[in-house]
Symmetry: C2
Subunit: 223 residues, 2 copies
């Protein structure tokens, strides 16, 4: 029997690729998504399509009241998504998002008996979020092994961030090789209900540049 892995799946390009990598490494994948009041709810539909297309064992969507906390252009209607590149950490940063997501993935992993967690963060062609950096991932792995029954008993958790040192083009080439259908994914911060992209936000810009640099046809549907 394959080892189980919990894979965080947003419906975007990166997490779809991380899932394909986990599968390629032989894990039985349990995908986890969050309904956290994100503006781009089309992402959740994309996550379901991606999970189905890549053949996960199970896909769970957890409701999470991050919109009750606010503080980000991605969860707060009152903050506008910028359409030009910003200096520093942008307003689309959701406070402590990856900490919350990994914490819940960790809880589910412990229940499932999985010791491997996959997250599609990337610290090269990314938006400058602090919780996408290698030092964050390392600190979380350390925490996971202090926080849990399994970790304390010596059955250690591993946090895999297979894309962390890749450029966007490398991510796309990796996924294309592993059979990811990127037409199913949605990266846009303000996609419409059908998942069509704006073509102007930070996330759209990084994605389009990635396909161009990878020499892979861009299947993104723009509105």
């Amino acid at each position: 029997m394959s080892d189980k892995a919990v894979v965080l799946l947003s419906g975007g390009l990166d997490s779809a690729t991380a899932l394909a990598v986990a599968k390629d490494q032989g894990y039985a994948c349990h995908a986890l998504s969050f309904d956290y009041g994100q503006r781009h709810a089309a992402e959740l539909e994309a996550a379901k399509r991606v999970a189905r297309s890549l053949g996960v064992v199970e896909h769970r969507v957890l409701r999470l009241g991050l919109d009750e906390i606010g503080g980000s252009a991605l969860t707060d209607e009152a903050i506008e998504v910028p359409e030009t590149p910003q200096e520093g950490i942008p307003v689309t940063y959701v406070p402590a998002r990856n900490t919350v997501f990994l914490a819940l993935a960790l809880g589910w992993a412990e229940v499932l008996g999985a010791r491997d967690l996959f997250i599609g963060v990337n610290a090269v062609d990314y938006s400058g979020y602090p919780d996408c950096r290698p030092e964050f991932i390392e600190a979380f792995q350390k925490l996971a092994n202090l926080a849990t029954r399994a970790g304390v008993e010596g059955d250690r958790f591993r946090i895999h961030a297979p894309l962390i040192h890749m450029t966007k083009a490398e991510i796309i080439r990796t996924g294309a090789r592993l059979g990811v259908d990127y037409s199913l994914t949605v990266s846009c911060y303000q996609a419409d209900a059908e998942g069509r992209a704006c073509g102007r936000c930070d996330s759209c810009r990084l994605r389009a540049e990635g396909f161009a640099a990878a020499g892979v046809p861009d299947p993104t549907r723009y509105r």
Copy 2:
């Protein structure tokens, strides 16, 4: 103006005391509770009463689907709450609970501009949960300062666990001195809808022994 603090408030004895300590230290307290499908929903009512009684600035209750993950006697109806002391980490352990709670408290703190988080964990008279130990708290503080915009910009978060080295009797004496009305709190893992305790579970046992050792009258309502 006082510095803001986010205080995790469960409605139990320990977190009520942690809130009183935070208030005594001069913080403007923002209390955070979770509706996570816990069996003892009477705890949430207790949290509201405690928050009101100690005069918080704001009390927020976040919905969180931990029951969808299961794996604990506290969230899964199929697992029985034990009424005799258990060896090792007990079945009432909720996988990664304090990691999840602190992660959400961190997100809210960042939005509020608070840099101080209070959690009422205790590593002396406790149930042996791994995420109640000092090394867990230290690892979380380290993570918090890598995970967030504020932390990265050098405006560091502090995770306060003022009860961590206290006995249950010391906690109760501290709270009594600071005016905590313990009749408002509910500790029982299987309290009834009115918040009356079973008197038999691990949590009831620790609480009753604590009042006896502190020489403080025990206001717990048993059914």
